[in-house]
Structures are given as structure tokens and as C-alpha cells.
């Protein structure tokens, strides 16, 4: 057993850390404040090959593996969680399902440019009436001549307004319930594919989240991903991988909270000494460190299992659940350590606090993660 990252993984981690520190950290607060999507930074990340990390060289990736990808998501998110979610949603659940279930032609057409950073991808699963209960999907795909016609709407879709391609789930056989859901690869310039205005959100304001409206979207037969009725199974598998990336994103936020808190606690003087000298603050910092390390270890383990081709659903759910709650708890304590200043927009912990909350909700709420774990236990 070896807990150390190998040289290549250390190098990827170092490179992304340097990139995040220099390119993202200085602008993250402004991007959030102005709700600005960082197109130029995303372009640079693509040129460096970051979007290709989890994909094989055959389809434009760098074949570095899921652990390397998790390291990159963590480092990007430590500086800017908005960019972290753009990145994670693009790779794991945008291009991810096409990479996992697409035909060689679909992969060449869509995964390759996604991996090379030439386009972004989105994943349209959630609907107004189908959140945790994704089986309640109401969007329909009806056979039409040699193709399909999609109608319905999707909500809270990351990258919806910036993606060139979206994987969309729709009911193809109402009688079969969740086994009647299929997925489609939809170019976002298809007539009838519309997006709403950006949502007004609590946090992650520099990421693009919108409603998708499918108004008689006509697709060729080949746009289906896999076979009819496989959609439900596919997105459960895609979400397993997605959970590792949300775990990594959460570790990034948790670490950012710790870094900021430690720095502040050493500088802030009250009662004639830095507040880091008070045990009340020390215990908070110790707990933050402990949670960050435990979350990181679990995320790395889940990613490592995936890279080895071993079962990782349980570990991915644990990693996502623990890391997201660690991020939220760390953010709460970070604001507390900063006191009144922590509540102000002048300091970064206020942003971490708002960003962290989504980690407990997106790609399966904490409650759903506990259900997943319980079911895998055999309950």
C-alpha cells in the first residue's frame, strides 16, 4: 500500500496549483461578484490538457486517469469553486456519459473536442418534478420518421448556456417507468433547443446554470446514447464518477477554508495575542484539518478504485457525502473564526460559505448519498 502520489500525479497537482494560484485566485472574488463566466481561463485550461485528464488518448484525452483529474478539480476549486463546477460538470457528467456509453463515432464527434478543450458539455437530467426522483422524468422523446422528437424542460443545468453539446434524458416508453428512460446526445444549436436566463444563485456565481427548454427538438436516430431504456442505468453510472469530482471540488473548498482561517487566526490579534493562540480557535482549526484530510483520502481512494477498474460506487458516495459536509462545516467555522469580517464580502470565506452549500445538494443530495450507501450495504 502506498499513499503517496506518483511523480506524474505530483506534477499535475503542482502545475494545476500554480495555474489556479496565478490565474484564478486573483480574480475569483470579482468573477463571483459580477457573475462573469471565465471564458478565457476555461480556454487556457483546455489548452493545458486539463479537460482531457479522465479520457483516453484515443478520444483526444491525455489518459492520465481519474485520480489526476480529481487532483486538478481540487486545485481549481481551492481557488474558484465556480470554475471547479464548470470543469467537473463538463468532464464527469457532460462528456462523461458519451465517453462511457457512446459509439466510436459519437465519441470521436463529441468526446474528442470536449477532451481537447474545444467545447464544453452539459448534462440535462434534473427537471422541475424530477430531482432526487430522477425516475419522474417528464421530458419525452417520440419516434418521428427516422429519428426522435424531444419535448420538455430541464432545470439547474450547469454549463447549459456555454455548452456545444448536452446529454439529455427523456422518456421513450412511459409504460416501463425508469426502464423507459433513454439518453440523447444533443448539439445545443439544434433548432428548438433553448436555454433560459442564468439563475440567480446563492453561490457559484461564475458558473453558468440555466434552464433548458426542448421545443420539438428533432434528432437523428444515431443521437441516442446506447439502447432505448438504458438512460436511467447510464446516469446512475455517470453520477458515480461525478460524485468523485464533487468530492474533489468539496475538498478544494474545505482546504481553502482552512488556509484562509489559519492565515487570519495567526494575524488577528485580540486580548493581546493572535487568536490562533486560543484553544477555542485551535480546536476549530484542528477539526478543519482533520475533516479536510479525511475527505481527501476518501476522494483519492474512490478515484484510485475507478482507475483500477474496481467497484467504486460505495466509496464515491461516501467521498461525496463526507467531503461536501466537511466543506460546509469548514466554511461555517471559517466564517466564525473571521467573526464579523467573515460575514463581509471583503473576505473570501463568505464566498466559500455560499459555494459550499451546493456540494451537499448537486449530483445527489446528502440524503440520496446516505440512501445509496445504505442500499449498497444491503438494506
Amino acid at each position: 500500500m502506498d499513499f503517496r502520489l506518483n511523480e506524474e500525479q505530483q506534477m499535475i497537482q503542482n502545475m494545476v496549483r500554480e495555474f489556479a494560484d496565478k490565474e484564478l485566485a486573483p480574480v475569483a472574488a470579482r468573477l463571483d461578484e459580477e457573475g462573469e463566466f471565465p471564458h478565457e481561463i476555461i480556454r487556457k485550461m483546455g489548452a493545458l490538457g486539463l479537460f482531457g485528464l479522465p479520457f483516453s488518448e484515443e478520444y483526444g484525452g491525455t489518459g492520465a486517469g481519474y485520480l489526476s483529474y480529481a487532483l486538478a478539480v481540487e486545485e481549481i476549486s481551492r481557488a474558484c469553486a465556480s470554475t471547479g463546477i464548470t470543469y467537473a460538470a463538463h468532464c464527469s457528467i457532460g462528456a462523461g456519459p458519451i465517453y462511457l456509453f457512446g459509439t466510436p463515432e459519437q465519441k470521436k464527434q463529441w468526446v474528442m473536442p470536449c477532451a481537447q478543450g474545444k467545447m464544453l458539455a452539459a448534462f440535462g437530467l434534473t427537471e422541475p418534478n424530477a430531482g432526487s426522483d430522477a425516475g419522474g422524468t417528464q421530458t419525452t422523446a417520440v419516434p418521428d420518421g427516422d429519428g426522435w422528437v424531444l419535448n420538455g424542460s430541464k432545470c439547474f443545468i450547469t454549463n447549459a448556456g456555454v455548452a456545444k453539446v448536452a446529454v439529455i434524458t427523456a422518456v421513450t416508453d412511459k409504460e416501463k417507468g425508469s426502464r423507459g428512460i433513454s439518453s440523447f446526445v444533443v448539439p445545443t444549436d439544434t433548432p428548438g433547443f433553448k436555454v433560459g436566463q442564468p439563475y440567480r444563485k446563492l453561490g457559484l456565481n461564475a458558473s453558468d446554470t440555466r434552464e433548458i427548454i426542448l421545443d420539438n427538438v428533432r434528432l437523428p436516430k444515431e443521437s441516442m446514447l446506447g439502447k432505448p431504456g438504458e438512460g436511467f442505468k447510464q446516469f446512475l453510472i455517470a453520477l458515480d464518477g461525478g460524485r468523485i469530482s464533487i468530492g474533489a471540488l468539496s475538498v478544494g473548498i474545505a482546504q481553502a477554508c482552512l488556509d484562509a482561517s489559519l492565515k487570519y487566526a495567526r494575524e488577528r490579534v485580540q486580548f493581546d495575542q493572535p487568536i490562533a493562540k486560543f484553544q477555542a480557535v485551535q480546536f476549530k482549526l484542528a477539526d478543519m484539518k482533520m475533516k479536510t484530510e479525511l475527505a481527501r483520502t476518501m476522494v483519492y481512494k474512490a478515484a484510485w478504485l475507478k482507475d483500477q477498474g474496481l467497484a467504486f460506487s460505495m466509496e464515491a458516495a461516501i467521498a461525496k457525502l463526507y467531503a461536501s459536509e466537511a466543506a460546509m462545516q469548514n466554511a461555517t467555522e471559517a466564517v466564525q473564526i473571521y467573526g464579523g469580517y467573515g460575514y463581509m464580502k471583503d473576505y473570501p470565506v463568505e464566498r466559500y460559505f455560499r459555494d459550499a452549500k451546493l456540494m451537499e445538494i448537486g449530483e445527489g443530495t446528502s440524503e440520496i448519498q446516505r440512501l445509496v450507501i445504505a442500499r449498497l450495504l444491503g438494506c
Partner: protein
């Protein structure tokens, strides 16, 4: 154009607490994070830029333990064909003349046109290795270089001097130059480069491989002795300036000019 770039792995002490270890001659580096010496990073970039513009070959040289491989391969990921790491506990790395002797021994074994180092290391800050290396190799040198132009068999460089002066120097090749930070914008290593760097040649050599005797480069053979390392006591020395606003400004301005701030 055959280039050598000498690089060093150094601790990042910007955020860390620096504590002197029990020997009193070194610092406790157990909690430090390490990376490439800042000025060396610019030297790496400059070599890659020259190679991209004119072709050629880059070999990286580093004295250090196995942990330095990450730093070496990161440079290989940006460009460059191969690297040599010299690891030998007998080398006294505190003496820049001895470090230069070791590096020269590794370079002399091959043909070379240009050798680059950072102008200074962030840990020991001697600013001597590059200059001493030129002496060991018997070639010309220029220190604190902030611009490089390759001519036919020659090199034209701009050197940064004190007081905002710039000196332009032309030298015949081969030569050694020490690179000042800010000469370029070091790139990030692309993931593909990082992957490819794992397969590039990285030789590990010892003194015997370099034909060096222990006494030439060991602490016993050094003419420099590190006596003591300590953290100076921080003393605050505030002076209250009295007078009318005009007088205060005058006194302040004089002090700033004298102190070299203006």
C-alpha cells in the same frame, strides 16, 4: 544550439514558519513544500524559447536527492530532451565554488554552446554558482541577464545593473549566463508534456561518474565554513517626525532619498 540549464529544488518559505534545526546550521524543512528555484524557472523558459525559435537541444542538470525528480521532470515537460541528476552525499552544497565544480564536471563531458542558471537560488542566495561555473568551464559569462539574443556563434544579452542601468554585452559562444526573473513568462507544463516527461532520459550520476575526487567537492575540501544560521531579532525602530506639514514632508523626502526609496 546545445544548451544546459542548471536547476535547483528549493523550499517555498514564503508562507511557512522558518525554524533553525538542532545543528544550528540548517533549517527544519520537514513541513516545507518544495519547488523549482524561481530564477531557474525563468532559465528553463528562456532555453525552451530559444529552442522553439532556433532549434537545438536542452539538457537539465540538477544536484539533489530523488525528490528533485519532480522538479526536473516538470522542466522536461515544458521542453528539453534529457536530464542529469547528481546525487552524492559527499558533495558540499553550501559552497558555491564546489557546486560549480560538480556542475562543470558534468557539462565538460559533452559539447555545449550555452549554459544557463538562475541568477540566484532562493534558499542560499549566493548568486555565485553561475559565475563560478563559467570560470570552471573556461568560458565567458554574463550575470543578471534580462534579455537574450542569439547571433551567429555569438550571443547578445542585456544585463540588469544597480540603479536602473542596463548593460548590453556581446559574447562568443560557448558561454554561461545567469538569468534574472522577469525575463519572460514561464509557461505551465501542459498535461501532455508531463506525461511525455516520464519517458525522457534522466540519468543519476555520482562523483566517480564525473571523475571527481571527494576532497575536491566535500566539506573537508571547502574554503568556506558555515558558522551559524540564525533568525535576527526583529526590532522596530519608529521615528516620529515633528514640524509643520511642509517641514515634515521635507524631512520625509530627504530620508526617502537617502534610504534609496526614491
Amino acid at each position: 544550439m546545445k544548451m544546459f540549464v542548471c536547476i535547483k529544488r528549493v523550499p517555498d518559505t514564503s508562507e511557512a514558519d522558518v525554524k533553525i534545526d538542532q545543528t544550528g546550521k540548517s533549517v527544519d524543512s520537514s513541513r516545507f513544500s518544495f519547488g523549482i528555484n524561481d530564477a531557474d524557472n525563468y532559465a528553463v523558459e528562456e532555453a525552451v524559447l530559444i529552442k522553439e525559435a532556433r532549434g537545438g537541444e536542452i539538457k537539465f542538470l540538477c544536484i539533489g536527492p530523488k525528490d528533485s525528480d519532480v522538479v526536473i521532470r516538470m522542466s522536461l515537460a515544458k521542453g528539453g530532451e534529457s536530464a542529469v541528476r547528481i546525487e552524492d552525499p559527499r558533495i558540499n552544497q553550501k559552497d558555491p565554488l564546489q557546486v560549480a565544480k560538480v556542475l562543470a564536471a558534468a557539462i565538460k563531458r559533452e559539447q555545449f554552446d550555452l549554459v544557463m542558471t538562475g541568477c540566484m537560488s532562493a534558499d542560499d542566495s549566493n548568486m555565485s554558482v553561475g559565475v563560478a561555473l563559467a570560470e570552471e568551464l573556461g568560458v565567458s559569462h554574463a550575470a543578471m541577464v534580462k534579455s537574450v539574443e542569439i547571433l551567429d556563434g555569438k550571443i547578445k544579452v542585456k544585463r540588469e545593473l544597480e540603479g536602473g542601468l542596463t548593460e548590453v554585452v556581446e559574447m562568443s559562444l560557448p558561454a554561461v549566463i545567469t538569468i534574472q526573473t522577469g525575463i519572460n513568462v514561464p509557461r505551465y507544463a501542459p498535461v501532455r508534456g508531463i506525461r511525455e516527461a516520464q519517458k525522457k532520459e534522466l540519468k543519476v550520476l555520482k562523483l566517480e561518474d564525473l571523475g571527481l575526487a571527494e576532497e575536491e567537492v566535500s566539506e573537508a575540501g571547502s574554503r568556506v565554513e558555515l558558522m551559524k544560521l540564525y533568525i535576527p531579532v526583529v526590532a522596530s525602530n519608529a521615528e516620529m517626525i515633528q514640524g509643520t506639514p511642509d517641514e515634515k514632508a521635507e524631512i520625509m523626502a530627504v530620508k526617502m532619498v537617502k534610504g534609496g526609496l526614491l
